[in-house]
């Protein structure tokens, strides 16, 4: 009986490791419609997936900051913009990315594989993965928005940058998840 229990507890853990790479591929495409995997394309580097909705104004306002952070860590961290809205056309996304001046590669995640993998719920939120593709942080970029209608004059916490710093120095991340303010990804299902 005891053996049975132990095995039962081990299984999901093993499954999780296997599933991360598998899930990452399911339905994920670049703007040309080709299947893509942000992890295989980022081998050996930490990965940040930034989830955005084109119709989410909070997503938009974060663009300059996301661009700045990605530039600062460009040599050690691979950033990807992830659009989880299956009804969006590649063309509309391409235009938006160019309007906002992003220089970050873009993927579409119509099946929400990367959403599930990153455990994000809101746009804009991020999933931060270490070099071994382990999710170490998911949630908001910082605490700029108190709620949808109350942006602070400036953020006073910086969860994304803290998580990146921790990952790069092989330190544990202080808080593994803090939910963001913006638009629900679940409304897109």
């Amino acid at each position: 009986m005891q053996w049975g229990k132990l095995q039962f507890r081990m299984m999901p853990v093993l499954l999780l490791f296997v599933s991360s790479a598998l899930l990452a591929q399911e339905g994920v495409v670049d703007l040309g419609g080709r299947a893509a995997n942000p992890f295989t394309a980022s081998s050996g580097k930490a990965v940040v997936l930034v989830f955005l909705r084109r119709d989410c104004p909070v997503s938009g306002r974060y663009a300059p900051l996301i661009q700045q952070i990605s530039k600062r860590y460009a040599d050690r961290v691979n950033f990807w913009l992830i659009y989880p809205d299956k009804s969006e056309t590649a063309q509309a996304i391409r235009k938006s990315v160019s309007d906002f001046g992003y220089e970050i590669p873009v993927l579409r995640d119509p099946e929400h594989s990367l959403v599930k993998l990153s455990r994000v719920q809101i746009t804009p939120e991020v999933g931060v993965f270490d070099r071994n593709q382990r999710l170490v942080y998911d949630g908001r970029i910082d605490n700029w928005y108190v709620d949808l209608f109350h942006p602070r004059p400036a953020p006073t916490t910086h969860e994304l940058e803290d998580a990146i710093e921790a990952v790069l120095s092989d330190q544990p991340v202080a808080r593994n998840e803090v939910r963001g303010v913006g638009c629900y990804i679940s409304d897109l299902e």
Partner: protein, 605 residues
């Protein structure tokens, strides 16, 4: 003399709406079924209360016009309606009703929650009400005159909120009466609110670096030479439908009037080009009723200690005449928390004029009453604003908190309350009731804020308008004592001294004004007078010359320059100036009379 208005002002005009229809439909739904469907139960609420702004080209960031639109934001809609942050409507319900109240009922809010909980069912297509119809473009049809900003503003992608003022020069040759103003603030998604100030003397033009460029900041200082108080709250916020004034309540625009559009802009993450336009709708009916804006302001009382969670400012003003209250516009910045205004009638009855328990600068608005509210003479208007300068206020611009005082920057605080009132039940033979109101308000301000420059200045201007020169001089002196370097203050004091027959003293202050602002037309003009009164005609002519350099087409200056030259015996030159004055204004009285005299004298010689 001139009146100063220091303000970030606004106008009135709100959303057209009637809640009754959607209420009836939701009630019906509850009776017939416990399953909530989009087509039957949710669409009426959305179409009525959301789609006005949530459609292409309007202020909201996404459209809510059909089932798929709404489903894509269903949880968000459930959240923001439950918290009553959407639709945006800050005041609590009260006895005195506002027009176009944009507030969902509890039943409507519950309905949305249930719809989302039940899995966002679309329902029977036959239940779907007709799609709302909206007027595209100008809401009131093509305006009689469209003014577009000369130079667009490029809003940077990032940074704090921006306040920008566009100057619109109104190209009219004579007086026009305006029954409605539609503000199209440019890309509506990035303009939080906008309001128009009427600048009748071009006093903001000098703040433009180049013609049409506009200028930044929240502080707009408007001077006017005659008693001509602001009358209308010309305000835009997302969803605003232009308000058409009833006959007799039109806004007067004269030749040379500028409209200053003060905009509050929020960066979007990418560069945005903002180019507002204004549509004017004229009426042949001149104003027969003269409303005015009463501005209660207590910025001087704002000295909020760092960390103070509930700093209270209160003020009371007793009305000296009967008025009808038409609209109300409270204003505070990021520390403002709870905003209340009451009317206390002579019999002690207390009526809430407005109560906003959770102030949000980003959703400030003008609130127009559904019916005019009669406030008889002797009614006291009281305001009570509470500010939170603690770290617990996430909107606090300072982290950690610091002491905050009153001022015009967004990081300063404000305590303003504008009331649009219409004096009623007065005897026109006894003078202009607006002057009685303005003087009472000016005296109240001086009493409240003895250290406030504008308070003394405005009281002085009131007294001068009533030709009470000695009283005016006393108040101007107080003002200049408070701000010895203020050009407008020194000029006004000089002007009052000239009018009261003290040209020598006047010259001293006028010269001070010109030291601070060498291109100050009014000060040159007044100094020209003061010197002429002392028989220094050469000095006088020089001042009028300087004034003429600044405004070459001013007939009165031409005439006065002619007069000074004539006094010096330079008759042919004088004659030329009189003639030029008459070219500019065929009825210029000084030029007319003097030209006759000078022609007589020249013929006699």
């Amino acid at each position: 003399m001139s009146f100063l208005r220091l303000s970030t002002l606004g106008i009135s005009l709100l959303l057209a709406a009637s809640v009754s229809q959607s209420l009836a439909q939701t009630a019906h739904a509850q009776e017939t079924s416990s399953t909530v469907t989009f087509n039957r139960d949710i669409a009426p609420i959305i179409f009525h209360s959301c789609s006005t702004c949530h459609r292409p080209g309007e202020a909201a960031p996404f459209s809510l016009l059909n089932y798929l639109d709404v489903r894509k934001h269903a949880h968000q809609i459930a959240d923001v309606t439950r918290s009553r942050t959407m639709p945006p409507w800050l005041p609590e319900p009260q006895k005195l009703k506002f027009a176009d109240e944009l507030r969902l009922s509890n039943a409507e809010i519950d309905m949305i929650q249930r719809w989302v909980d039940q899995g966002e069912i679309e329902g029977n297509p036959a239940d779907l009400p007709p799609k709302p119809e909206f007027v595209e473009g100008w809401r009131l049809g093509k305006p009689d005159m469209i003014l577009t900003a000369t130079k667009p503003l490029v809003l940077p992608p990032q940074g704090t909120d921006t306040y920008w003022n566009f100057i619109f020069r109104v190209p009219i040759e004579g007086t026009k009466w305006v029954k409605a103003v539609e503000i199209r603030p440019g890309d509506k998604q990035y303009v939080h609110h906008a309001n128009i100030l009427v600048d009748r003397e071009g006093s903001s033009r000098k703040r433009e670096k180049e013609l049409g460029a506009g200028f930044g900041g929240m502080e707009i200082r408007i001077e006017s030479q005659v008693f001509d108080p602001d009358s209308h709250l010309l305000f835009w916020k997302p969803g605003t439908v232009p308000y058409v004034e009833p006959d007799g309540m039109a806004l007067r625009l004269d030749k040379g009037t500028d409209l200053i559009l003060n905009t509050h802009l929020q960066p979007s993450g990418k560069p945005e080009v903002i180019r507002p336009s204004i549509g004017l709708y004229f009426t042949p009916h001149p104003a027969t009723k003269l409303p005015m804006l009463l501005q209660l302001e207590d910025d001087v009382k704002l000295d909020i200690p760092a960390g103070d969670k509930a700093f209270v400012v209160s003020d009371q003003f007793t009305l000296p005449v009967d008025v009808e209250l038409l609209a109300i516009y409270p204003h505070a910045h990021y520390l403002g928390k709870d905003i209340q205004a009451h009317a206390i009638l002579a019999d002690g009855t207390r009526e809430t004029l407005i109560h906003i328990p959770d102030w949000n600068l980003n959703w400030q608005a003008v609130y127009r009453y559904a019916e005019p509210v009669l406030l008889p003479k002797g009614t006291t208007v009281s305001l009570q604003y509470t500010y939170d300068n603690s770290d617990g206020n996430p909107l606090n611009p300072n982290h950690p908190p610091i002491e905050v005082k009153g001022g015009n920057r967004s990081t300063d605080e404000m305590c303003h309350l504008w009331l649009q009132v219409l004096p009623v039940n007065f005897d026109p033979a006894k003078g202009d009731p607006r002057m009685v109101l303005q003087e009472a308000l000016a005296r109240h301000d001086v009493e409240n804020n003895p250290g406030d420059f504008e308070a003394h200045y405005n009281l002085a201007a009131m007294l001068q308008a009533k030709k009470e020169f000695e009283g005016a001089i006393t108040e101007y002196l107080e003002a200049v004592k408070l701000r010895p370097q203020d050009a407008a203050g020194n000029n006004a004091l000089g002007g009052a001294l000239v009018a009261a027959g003290h040209p020598e003293q006047a010259a001293e202050y006028l010269q001070e004004a010109l030291k601070v602002r060498p291109d100050y037309f009014d000060a040159h003009y007044n100094l020209g007078f003061a010197l002429a009164d002392q028989n220094d005609f050469a000095g006088s002519a020089a001042q009028f010359q300087a004034a003429l350099q600044l405004q070459p087409r001013d007939a009165a200056v031409e005439a006065n320059l002619g007069a000074a030259l004539a006094e010096m015996g330079r008759l042919p030159e004088a004659k030329a100036h009189f003639e030029h004055a008459l070219q500019l204004d065929p009825n210029q009285p000084i030029a007319k009379e003097n030209l006759r005299e000078i022609e007589k004298e020249m013929t006699a010689k």
